[in-house]
């Protein structure tokens, strides 16, 4: 069945063009034909009337004289007019007077009456046209002529006309067809191409193709441009969507997270591909019914989703729940579910969406971590108490060193002295000398014990920082050192020293040790020069104590601050080798550092700082 809607726009346009042209042509042709026919008919009737007049005139005398032969002859002249079918002359009484037949096979025709007052009357049928006319002579009716003509001429003309119209119609249709083809090229083709593009996009979901662009700026061009723009946007979104989808899939796949939604009213659950493995099921094995889902859960957890709906945040709808399931192999798994409850306008929950993942391993790991932590804490506590015990033992040890080691020394000294006093006169000089060496050794050991105790003491002691003017400390130390160096020529050069945050008691010990060292190793000098000042090194305040003493070889500088490390022989310079170690420990406790520069026989300089370098302090802050 012919349906306009099913036709292509190309066909429609062609049809339209052709229909319009044919309509116009047909209407015009019909008008022409009607006009032509009417005119022709009038002409025909006028010609017939003229012929009737001529025949009537020529036959008048014959009628007057009653000579039918003459009339017959006159009528015969009508042979020259082939379209005349017949002609007849009647007497006024209505009798046939003379007759002419074109085909000589006629019979007498009854004379149709002429209405009164008229000279002439004509009529026509399908096949012929007839005319009756009165013949008068001197205003007196002398007869009537009756003439008939066929319509061949008219029909011939009509046929020719119809042929011409048909030819013109066909020609114009052809022209219309050609024109529409040409128009199609500029107008329809882009639309067709657009339609084809749209079809491919719809069918193949291929958003990368574009409709061909036309040169013009008409509505179609705008349409194509808009369509292409729309395609670009769709392509962009499609790409973004696909990438997001891929990422999501990758994330879901690699993390073992499944997504689902629950239509609460319908009781239907929709699972993605990752859900079934979480429940230990084959893909597609789950019916999608909420009731079946509940049966997968451990009895105690079966209402967890219902509870989650009830407990979900009323504003955001988010919820968080856990449930346990048993796989076919009887292993128990803990599943965590998180997501959102969707509500309708009245606030009634209608749908839940969410994600699920297996947290069995995580819980196990957490449990392990908890246990490990507990073990660790226990161990730390054990170690701490062990350490505390060790510290206590150490303290007890140093205490007994302080108390018990000193006593025997005192006894040795005491009784050596008693021996000298009580039995001196009876002892030989050699024996006295031995006793002197014993006393000297015990004295040295007493110093060692005191220094070691002092070192241990520094290690144990907490720093008590306070802003301290170093000059006041130096002044106190100088008093002690001066006592011990009475009789020597020492020039003390003490510069203005800064105020620093430090533990004054400990820093005093540092100065004491450095000054005592300087005094000791300048013993061969006269005068001895000992200098204390401060300088700035890389932006840091550094204090130094410089002497012009015997110095030391820098080769051994690394040993300088070690316990019991000595640079000189005991016979030359007494000492325990603990003083600088103690000084270093105090400086380190303040976050500073201590070092020395010296040259053998040209003096030594000891530098120390009482705070960490600036940069380190800033980092800490």
């Amino acid at each position: 069945m012919f349906k306009i809607g099913a036709r292509s726009i190309k066909q429609k346009l062609t049809w339209m063009n052709m229909l319009v042209s044919s309509c116009a042509l047909i209407v015009a042709s019909a008008a022409f034909a009607t006009y032509e026919l009417t005119t022709f008919q009038q002409t025909m009737s006028r010609n017939l009337s003229i012929q009737a007049q001529i025949v009537g005139s020529n036959c008048a005398s014959a009628l007057l004289f009653g000579d039918p032969n003459a009339a017959q002859r006159t009528l015969s002249a009508l042979q020259a007019a082939p379209h005349i079918l017949s002609a007849a002359i009647y007497t006024p009484a209505g009798a046939l007077f003379a007759v002419y037949w074109r085909d000589r096979a006629g019979e007498a025709l009854p004379l149709p009456p002429i209405p009164a007052g008229q000279k002439e009357m004509y009529w026509r049928t399908d096949r012929e046209m007839a005319l009756v006319r009165s013949i008068e002579f001197q205003d007196k009716l002398i007869g009537t002529v009756y003439i008939r003509s066929d319509m061949h001429e008219l029909n011939y003309r009509l046929t020719r006309y119809a042929g011409a119209v048909t030819a013109v119609l066909l020609l114009s249709l052809l022209v219309a067809f050609v024109f529409s083809s040409v128009i199609q090229r500029t107008t329809v083709r882009p639309i067709v191409a657009l339609a084809e593009t749209a079809r491919i996009v719809t069918r193949e979901k291929k958003y990368s193709i574009r409709a061909p662009v036309t040169a013009g700026r008409d509505e179609i061009a705008v349409l194509i441009e808009a369509f292409n723009e729309m395609l670009s946007q769709i392509q962009e979104r499609d790409t973004a969507l696909q990438q997001a989808h891929e990422r999501l899939n990758l994330a879901l796949k690699s993390s073992g997270v499944g997504t689902w939604s629950w239509d609460i009213d319908a009781g239907a659950l929709t699972w993605d591909d990752y859900m079934a493995p979480l429940f230990g099921l084959e893909p597609g094995a789950f019916s999608g019914k909420y009731e079946d889902f509940r049966k997968l859960l451990q009895p105690a957890d079966r209402d967890c989703l219902g509870r989650a709906v009830a407990d979900a945040d009323t504003v955001s709808g988010s919820y968080n729940t856990e449930f346990r399931i048993k796989h076919k192999d009887d292993s128990l798994h803990v599943i965590s579910a998180r997501g959102k409850v969707h509500r309708d306008e009245s606030g009634r929950p209608v749908r839940m969406t969410g994600v699920c993942w297996d947290i069995t391993e995580r819980q196990r790991a957490e449990e392990q971590i908890r246990e490990l932590n507990q073990t660790l804490e226990r161990r730390v506590a054990d170690r701490t108490s062990e350490l505390e015990a060790a510290n206590k033992e150490l303290e007890a040890f140093t205490y007994s060193v302080a108390h018990d080691l000193r006593a025997p020394l005192r006894h040795i000294q005491g009784f050596s002295a008693a021996l000298t006093e009580d039995f001196g006169p009876r002892l030989e000089p050699g024996a006295i000398e031995h006793l002197t060496r014993i006393v000297e050794s015990t004295r040295h050991m007493g110093c060692l014990i005191d220094d070691l105790l002092s070192l241990a003491h520094v290690g144990r002691q907490e720093l008590r920082l306070q802003a301290t003017g170093l000059n006041s400390i130096v002044k106190e130390v100088l008093r002690d050192v001066a006592n011990e160096t009475q009789g020597r020529n020492i020039e003390w050069r003490i510069a203005d020293l800064p105020f620093v945050d430090c533990d004054p008691g400990l820093v005093k010990q540092v100065f004491y040790n450095l000054f005592a060292n300087a005094a000791k190793y300048t013993r061969p000098r006269n005068p001895a020069i000992i200098e204390a000042a401060h300088t700035s090194l890389n932006g840091q305040s550094v204090i130094f104590v410089k002497d012009n003493g015997v110095g030391f070889n820098m080769k051994y500088a690394s040993k300088l601050f070690g316990v019991f490390q000595r640079m000189h022989r005991r016979e030359d310079f007494e000492g325990t080798g603990v003083g600088l170690a103690t000084a270093q420990r105090i400086v380190h406790k303040h976050g500073g550092r201590i070092w020395a520069e010296a040259e053998l026989d040209k003096g030594a300089t000891f530098f120390f700082s009482l705070a960490p370098p600036e940069a380190a302090v800033e980092e800490k802050q």
């Binding site: 006593a407 005192r410 006894h411 000294q413 004295r443 007493g446």
Partner: protein, 146 residues
């Protein structure tokens, strides 16, 4: 020698130290009226007339207690605490005479009300000098209630 004549109580467990201390005190003629306690318990028994000293006659003439800190049974700080918390004995001057120079011992002793704290010098000459000075000071210079 009667109990009443005792003027100095030397609490010292180390016999060597006892010897050296006595020697130093005798050098100053202070060695005759000395009682020696070898541990804290003995010292307290003597001062508070308990145990073997329960029958000591009334009247307390002890003018000085020389107290070591590291003692068997009851340690020196405990002895000091009991002396200084007893109304009867708290006025007796107590001088701690010990090898320890530990701060916590010094601090604790003064907290308990020690009258003087002396670290025994290793050097015998210094030791003698110290004993001599403190004997003279507490026994001769210092005045105390009778």
């Amino acid at each position: 020698m009667t109990d009443d004549a005792i003027e100095i109580l030397l609490v010292e467990d180390d016999p060597q130290d006892v010897q050296l201390t006595l020697r130093a005190l005798q050098g100053e003629n202070l060695g005759n009226r000395i009682e020696i306690a070898r541990d804290g318990e003995e010292a307290l028994d003597f001062l508070f007339r308990r145990g073997p000293h329960a029958n000591r006659s009334n009247g307390n003439h002890v003018k000085l207690v020389l107290l070591d800190l590291k003692l068997p049974k009851v340690d020196g700080l405990q002895v000091l605490r009991e002396i200084k918390s007893s109304p009867e004995c708290r006025s007796i001057p107590v001088v701690v005479l010990t090898s320890s120079g530990e701060q916590r011992d010094i601090v604790e002793s003064y907290k308990l009300g020690v009258n003087s704290y002396i670290q025994k010098p290793v050097d015998i000459a210094q030791f003698r000098q110290t004993i001599k000075s403190l004997g003279l000071y507490w026994m001769v210079v210092n005045r105390q209630p009778c």
